[in-house]
Amino acid sequence: MPMPDAITSSKPTQELAAVTIRFAGDSGDGMQLTGERFAAVTALAGNDFQTLPDFPAEIRAPAGTLSGVSGFQIHLGSHRITTPGDRIDVLVAMNPAALKTAWPALKSGAMLILNDNTFTEADLKKASYESNPLDDGSLDTFDIRRLPMNRLTEEALAALPLSPKEKDRCKNFFVLGLVSWLYTRPIEPTQAWIEKKFSRSPELARANALAFEAGYRLAETSDLFPIRYVIPKAPIQPGRYRKITGNEAAALACVAAGQRAGKPVVFASYPITPASDILHELARHKQFDMRTIQAEDEIAAACAAIGASYAGSVGVTATSGPGLDLKTEAIGLAVMAELPLVVIDVQRGGPSTGLPTKTEQADLLQALHGRHGECPVVVLAASTPGDCFFTVYEACRLAIKYMTPVIVLSDAFLANGAEPWRIPDVAALPEFEIPQVSEQTSSTGFHPYARDAMTLARPWVPPGTPGLEHRIGGLEKEHVTGNVSYDPVNHETMVAYRAEKIQRVTADIPPLTIHGSPEGAVLVIGWGSTWGAITAAVEQAQQEGRAVSSLHVRHLHPLPCDLLEIARRFETIMVPELNTGHLQGLLQTRLLRKIHGLHKIQGQPFLQSEIYEAIARLT
């Protein structure tokens, strides 16, 4: 029996511009998979989207409790989508804890698709509900759709020779079927995926396919769902796309950098949330001469990456706040030795162990200043999951071109969030420029600290190169020769060279793009993962005719040359940051005028509305 599809369905459809859906349940309910699959078919349906998983805190909590809730939010639409959605239009809650956790983010009148089987006294208690919200009127203003999902799944699979537990674990596909119907998603890709995924156990393939079908059918037949929704295709730039998270993108960038530089990559890291997935991803791509090292700690990881760079590979390390603390001294060594090094810092809530699974942007000042002595490095920040690719790639390129450490700031929000990503043309990725030994060498002898006239980079001469044996280290070096030098004036000269070299990176920064009018009342300046919320809020304000523009900074050190000049063209500048005002302070020192800050330090990304309201107050 063929399944009904968008065309054959008998129910009316309604067109929507965008919707935010959250799938939420216990850690064991498989909601991440439901979300992932829904996003995959959403992509095929031609919508733009952003997704955000919300894992429970570090350790698995007892089933049914609030701390055990695992959620997956997707915001999809027929226009450009830049955030995973402020407020939830549709919540699928597999248990009371999932409902409770989502509560603060529900839009008023949101549709709540609830798993009736779990609103039992025991489950309610685990979720710390004092009375049943289904009965006590607290849900009255919502659009409730109750279904006994456990039972419906079980019934659909009654005939299969599987254990009750195995059957129960199929209910996430029941949900996927149901929501796929509701949003007129294509069904074949999901069916094909199930078949491929469970090819080794046809029983499970069949069970999941049946559950999926049952959900789909139930929605078509049940009175609970009188209409279904259609979201027209978004005007997306043509091309080949994939879904990508920030951590995946960062990992792929390392591979691409090695391939384009024509060098092995040594990726040395120590596991830490939320950066570990970069290591996991890269460990799977050894065929690209990707050499991954799980070091004994972050210090060793940074040092191994430095050793690898010294020996002519692309040395990369990734971590989060506590690990960045530990890499401090090693980064200083790379500054003095003038070796390439890429340090990816996936920021999380701090200080100390802080909120390890939550997002924050509070490592910026550390990235800039967190080393003893005058110790400048390049600092870049990625703005979207997909942008992590370009930022990390650029970091590798700059690290080598300028023989310097580059710190890349990502964050938990980017790391785990996903979006459609236009797959770049490998050949079109920027070229790597390898600092060479200057021509005069033959006549004047080799000088490891003789600098390129343009970039001020010293030559990269790995051990193994005949005839150019030399020694480097962390003591101050003599200009040109690189010998140890305690000379006072030489020290000042070298401090100046190291600073100037980093300033020269501005030559590689493309002109900034102003989103909106190039001058006027209000300019919103952002950096990092706030891009999506800022863009959405600024567009909303612009549509209302407010005189607001925005620009987003990828290069935080050195700052782009044109930044200050652009900023001077606006009357008011606002910098929204998930910290107490790091970039705000930097700009204030440079511009010598008051910059408005918008600070949120809750382990959560900005909502579009929060930024919009701040803009509204200023315009």
Binding site: V266, E296, A301, I306, A311, N483
Partner: protein, 347 residues
């Protein structure tokens, strides 16, 4: 792309190298009489004999008097940060397994701040040679006690005597499952040279504990074996397959009493009971026993405690790269596309 290890291919470029090729243009700045000079000399003598072109050598050090070593050897060299040389060396080997990488460290650099990296590089069996110059003191920072200083030693930081029992470096290395562990004395030139050669030839991490005198801050720390005459009396030379015999007249031997070592005067009766050294023993029991011997209760064992073969870290790393390549071609476009790409057409 991945080259072979040096030993596999005694290079033409290494022919004709001599000691002076390994002397750099930097003035050696150790104190007059420092034991480091002798070790430097031995190394400069050894390196040209190894059949490895000069550019393939890399000296990596941490911080300390000993860690100034790389500046004086005319090869590639990297004077890194305190305690981290083994970690840097691991990265170097991961990048270029074919290099001959030597880590120069001190008792403070290698066993205090750097103890963990030391242990982990030993257990991983990264193919680097670690020379630990043990002067039982912090030289560069002018005389604080180190993890090998004797209990009760008065130093600048322990004016009433230390309260920390020292570690036995060889024991620590064995405890970390090191594949090659040896000891030599700075002044014992031919033996030091021999041990260094063996270390150079070992595939995997070679840990060499070098007893080194710091005449300025800890003079005489190893008096019992530095001076030739004393050494003949108090040194116990370990020779594979030979009995553990020592003493001015080679008339003393080590036997087991229960599971503890004991010194005996050798007689025809007990000759058979004298332990036979076995650096390749499947179990490092004997090596452990020897590692804990200290003067004056015991002689000081010198030579190779243990030398066994295990796969090296970087070889295994590269093998995984090769294995991965056998399984899948490195197609970057395919990788970037991921498992589920889709096309967006012109609208």
């Amino acid at each position: 792309m991945i080259e072979h290890l040096p030993e596999d291919r005694p290079s033409a470029a290494s022919v004709g190298l001599s000691r002076k090729d390994f002397i750099s243009d930097q003035e050696v700045r150790w104190c007059p009489g420092c034991g480091d000079y002798a070790i430097l000399a031995q190394m400069q003598k050894l390196l040209p004999t190894l059949g490895i072109p000069r550019e393939r050598f890399v000296m990596i050090s941490g911080i300390g008097c000993s860690s100034r070593f790389p500046y004086y050897v005319n090869t590639y060299g990297f004077h890194t940060i305190h305690g981290r040389a083994p970690a840097v060396a691991t990265g170097v080997k991961a990048a270029q397994p074919e290099l001959s990488v030597w880590v120069i460290t001190g008792d403070g650099d290698g066993l205090s701040i750097g103890g963990n990296h030391l242990i982990h590089s030993l257990r991983r069996n990264v193919d680097v040679k670690i020379l630990l110059f043990d002067n039982r003191i912090y030289g560069l920072t002018k005389g604080q006690y180190s993890p090998t200083s004797e209990l009760g030693k008065r130093t600048k930081s322990s004016p009433m005597g230390t309260i920390e029992p020292p570690v036995h470096p060889v024991e620590v290395a064995l405890g970390a499952e090191a594949t090659f562990v040896a000891r030599a004395v700075d002044t014992d030139m031919p033996h030091l040279g021999e041990v260094l050669l063996r270390a150079a030839r070992h595939r995997g991490t070679a840990f060499v504990h070098i007893l080194q005198n710091c005449p300025v801050f800890n003079n005489g720390a190893f008096a019992s074996v530095r001076d030739r005459a004393q050494r003949l009396e108090h040194g116990l030379y370990l020779r594979h397959g030979e009995p553990l015999v020592f003493g001015k007249h080679q008339d003393l031997g080590i036997v087991l009493e229960g599971l503890a070592p004991k010194i005996v005067t050798i007689t025809p009766d007990n000759r058979d009971r004298v332990l036979i050294h076995d650096e390749q023993a499947s179990e490092p029991t004997l090596a452990f026993l020897l590692s804990r011997m200290t003067y004056p209760e015991f002689p000081i064992p010198l030579g190779i405690f243990r030398a066994i073969q295990k796969p090296t870290y970087e070889r295994a790393l590269i093998e995984q790269v090769e294995e991965a390549r056998r399984q899948m071609a490195p197609d970057l476009t395919a990788l970037l596309s991921g498992p589920e790409p889709w096309e967006v057409d012109r609208p």
